[in-house]
Amino acid sequence: MKSMSLTRFELYKILSRKSLWIFLGLMLLCFYLPLQIVQSRNATPYYQATPPTLQQVQAAKADLKKIAPLTEGTPSSPIQPALAESLNQRYLRDNAIITSAKGGAKAGVLQSIQFSLQRMQTQGQTSTFAYRATQMKYKMWKAMPFIGGGEYNGGGAIMMDFIKTFGFVFFGAMLLIGLAPLFSEEYSIGTDSFLQTAKHGKRTLVTAKLMAAGLYVLVIEGILQVFNAASTLPFYGIQGLNYPIQSIPLYYAPFHLVIWQYMIVAVIIQLIGGWAFAAAMALISSLSRSSLISFFVSAGVFLVPELLHMLLQKNWVETVMNFSYTGLTQVSRLFNTFLAYNLFGHPVLYPALVIPLAILVSIPIARLVYTAYYRHQVA
């Protein structure tokens, strides 16, 4: 296939930019890694992964009573930091055990959903979208296994946190730096004449460029996730990867997934988000003669929803964020809580809607890249 051989060259063009690797190296080795080392000394919260025994609960209750007076201290003899730390650990553990004994988050959520369903039934709203959505939510929570109390803060949790925070930022920045010049640099440095007059310099070239962009997204995601694991697991260990995702800050996620499964799903979704964003950037780049303009417009597409979200607490901003490349690439937003959209009266889960939508929207965007490049004229 002609486009495969061209794809190699197009990928080389992207990857041979030193600025990319300098930026990534600085961010990962000089910024994130030191931060990770410092943070790894912090206390690890406790997560009760299995239903607690009666003895465990009694011991936790007794321990809570014991540590309560110790936490107060006096002005003349304040609590020593080491003791405070130890008391805090015990407090978190005891609370986690007691919460687990009460059924954890699942019990509370199910109770609240049942209440809502009953209310709607008495109000005769059983044929409404809201009722169907609540029923769906109930079924999802009902199917959930035991969810313990407390919070898991081991390697898996830190790796998941990386995907939605630093990893997301580095991923977005690397896509912007690497792909904003995809076409516009050809226009600005004047290589477009060579390309457009070559036999395979139109359709095949665009295909090759899009494929190279896709491979680049894959390479960057791969590097970030390898770094994520390499910089986390040695400090935090691998235990806890089979805990439910409700043990990390996705407490109200109605999805039956354990952390290692969620990791795979999150990486795939981040890749889909990255590919969709890469297609959008390819279009912006194909329309602009300046890599800088292409960079800033693409950065705007990526960052404006996040900025709006930070500045405005409005429903429409939430919707924009939900359907933005930012929201999709952050991943955790898709799993945070139960969210269903009304599709012809039927509730469709937000992740089940937004992922196919991102793929579907990318198809006409990719088509437009071909058109924009075809229409480009050498000035």
């Binding site: 002609k2 051989s5 061209l6 060259f9 080389y12 063009k13 041979s16 930019r17 600005s188 440095i189 004047g190 290589t191 477009d192 004449s193 060579f194 390309l195 457009q196 007059t197 070559a198 036999k199 395979h200 310099g201 139109k202 070239l205 004229q377 050498v378």
Partner: protein, 299 residues
Amino acid sequence: MKLHIDGVSKQYKGKVALANFEAEFTEGVHALLGPNGAGKSTLMRIIAGVLRPTSGKVCLDGESTVAMGERYRDVLGYLPQSFGLYKNFTAERFLLYIAALKGLDKSVAPRKVAETLSLVGLGDVGKLKVGKLSGGMKQRLGIAQALLNNPKVLIVDEPTAGLDPKERIRFRNLLSEFARDRIVVLSTHIISDVEVVAQDVYLMNRGQLLAKNTAEGFLADMVGKVWTLTCAEREIGRYERKFQVGNVSRIGQDVKLRILSDQAPSIQAVAAEPTLEDMYLYYFKEEAAADEVHVVDAV
């Protein structure tokens, strides 16, 4: 093989860059000559298919090049006037990339790249990064990419700009050899290039075709219009006001003027054998003066 330029016009925001240009190119070198802004590069871009004309069309053997699409690009080689290169690529990798773009078979491409590099005198710098090449070497690499697919139609816009005299001669010979069974359209300011290789010359100015002839034909037309005159230095101004003065050379205390005029400028004036440079000055007058750098370059 015939490349027909059929009433091609191009306007940029209402400004005419090319007006109803008509030409028919067959095998051989066809030179476009004219000052800056004459519309040469616009025409070249339209022929190469990287610029859409406002009206008119370009046809190869009767078929529109736009409709031919990939088939036309398969037989096309184009060297633009100004171009960029990927500074992270080696010269060899760059040509391998162009070879892939031009659809050369993978098994043939490395050999063809090596041959073309050596053809343009870059055989020993193939492994060097493009960013490390001199301006002349980059120009030769540009030429190499245009020749890589053995094009049947070669469009070269100012190909010898930036080349040293030796390389210019080498390229001219290459072009001459190449054009035996191919169409070569050459745009240049360098009149000596035209004189040696072009089978016909198209004079262009302000987007219009002023005249078309062979180099010999233009020279024949100039007979009786070129004069040399030896005079005192103080008289230069007087002649410059009345006539178009070309070269001024010093002979002892006096100066020898080369004057373009339909009649003898003075009874002392002696008819001289015309050159294409005289023809260029004769046709383009003010533009040639404004374009002085290039004319000097050509001398």
